[in-house]
Every structure is written in C-alpha cells, then in structure tokens.
Amino acid sequence: MKKVFSHPKSLKKAVFHYCPGCGHSIIHRITCEVIDELGIQERVIGVPPPGCSVFAYYYFDVDMVESAHGRGAAVATGIKRAFPESIVFTYQGDGDLAAIGTTETLHAANRGENITAIFINNAVYGMTGGQMAPTTMLGMKTTTSPFGRDGKFEGHPIKMSEILAQVQGSCYVERCAVNSPANIKKTKKAIKKAFQNQIDGKGYSLVEILSPCPTNWKMSPVKSWQWVDDVMAKEFPLGLIKDTTGKKRAD
C-alpha cells in the first residue's frame, strides 16, 4: 500500500494549540499544501494577526512577521513594496480584517497591492473569549451581545467580501468554508488561485473562509461544522464574488 495522505512539507511538525474541531488548523494545512504545490516556500512571507492564530509562525515553515491588530494589510504592503519578488500573504480573523483593520484592508485592496489575504470568519473574537465581531449574526449571543445581536443597538453583520469586490484594485474575491470534505477541497482551490494571482501580478486577492469555532459557539465540533452550513452560510453565501483575472481556479 502506498501512503496517499501525509503532512505537507511547509507545515512544521508541531502540535496545534487550536481547539478540537477548529478551522484554523485545516486552513493552515491546506495553505501549506498550496505553498508546496506552487513551489513557493522559499519566497513566502506571512503576516499572522493577534488572535488565536498569533502563533501561526510555529506552524507555517516560512518567514513570518507578527503584526499589530488589524494592520496586516499595511505591513504586507510595506513588505511587498520593499521586496516585490516575495509572495506575501496576510492571515486575518474577522475582528482583525473587518473591525480594527477595515481601513488598511480596504485601501490595500483599493491600491491593488499584489498580495493574498486569507480571511478567517468565525463570527466572534475567538482568542479574547467570544466577544461580538463585525460578522456576528443577528440574534447571536456573544459575551458582548448577551441579549443576542440586535440591528438597532449593535448594527448588522458586515459582508467584507462584497465590499472589497467593489474596489477596482481587488482582482479576486471568493467566499468558502472548511466544514466538509467538499468545501475543504474548494477552499484549497480558492487559496491556490489567490496565490497564483500574486505570482501572476494580478492585484489584491481575498479568500474569506467560514470557519467553525466550537468553543465560542458553545457547540460540539461536529455541531459547529454543521452550523456553518445551517446558519452561517445563509448569512454569508458561499461562492465566487469577483474574478477579473481571466483565469479559472486552479484545478
């Protein structure tokens, strides 16, 4: 028998600190598979956020630099402008990219910075204990929306992918999920395209990934994976939102 599934080369052999069933480690793994398949491990510079994935550099075997909360897109801009030959990606949560980092994200996209943004949407602030996030859905109870998010008091969930698709500098925006084998496959293809776009110099690419957070959603891992389909994907529809690259997703 032949081994048909193993650990990607650019993923360090470290024990993940993430919760059981968390989407982060799946996304780390498939991103590393993409990095391996594209042969870019030596060119990649990653910018992880504060948040559950603050220790991403313990897992991704590529050069990485910590960023202040929300500023990943600006840091990535600085790196890419200083060294255009690099392949720079940001890895950001929903608070990081869509709350404190909205301005940096929007303007990096608007300038068409040739970078890849991986946007992890779990509808809460995870690391800090489950507070309301810009993507928290109406009715969802979090530690700072204990009565359930109400549009009147707390506003509505924000659709960053649709917003970023509006600016001319973004060339590719797709929303995916990692809650099933089929979705994981699609997400990997989207991530691969987002990196390929950078290699091809096409501009700003964003892959938004609906990611389960069993701990803060107060569900079992299996239930949380189902909840992504049953509830989250209804608010945040999966699929291609923008593609001006003229190239299909890598298959």
């Binding site: 599934f5 650990h7 993923l11 993940f16 084998p181 299996v222």
Partner: protein, 70 residues
C-alpha cells in the same frame, strides 16, 4: 481499492469530525485517554471496508491521520 489509516492518538483531540465523515463508519472514539486528556479516535477495519478514500485525513484539523491505499 483497499486502504488503511493510522491515527496518531497523541495528536488527536477527539473532535469526532473524522467519525462523522467516514463513509464506512470505521472510526470510533477510543475509551482510553491520551496524554493531553482527550479520548482520541480509533480505527477499526475488521470489516475490511476501508478504501483509503482519505476523507478522514482531509477533515482532520490536527493532521493526525495518515492514509495508505493499494
């Protein structure tokens, strides 16, 4: 196609996602805790039905599963 998997019980966090997705239902929670205090998944291929489809490995958040096929 015949297949088999190896679950690294010390990496497994007992999230049960692989159990949920295995098309042949060949994985179940073990009843022995691992060093981290989780009840890890365990593979039972007594029925010989495993095809090495690797769905379990593709959904495992902890890259705890290796898959063989032949």
């Amino acid at each position: 196609m015949k297949g088999r998997i190896e679950i690294n019980r010390e990496l497994c966090k007992g999230c049960e996602i692989c159990i949920f997705f295995c098309p042949k239902k060949l994985i179940a929670l073990s009843d022995e805790l691992n060093a981290a205090g989780y009840l890890p998944s365990a593979f039972n291929n007594d029925s010989g039905e495993c095809t090495g489809c690797a769905i379990c490995a593709s959904v495992c958040p902890d890259v705890a599963i290796e898959v063989y096929r032949g």
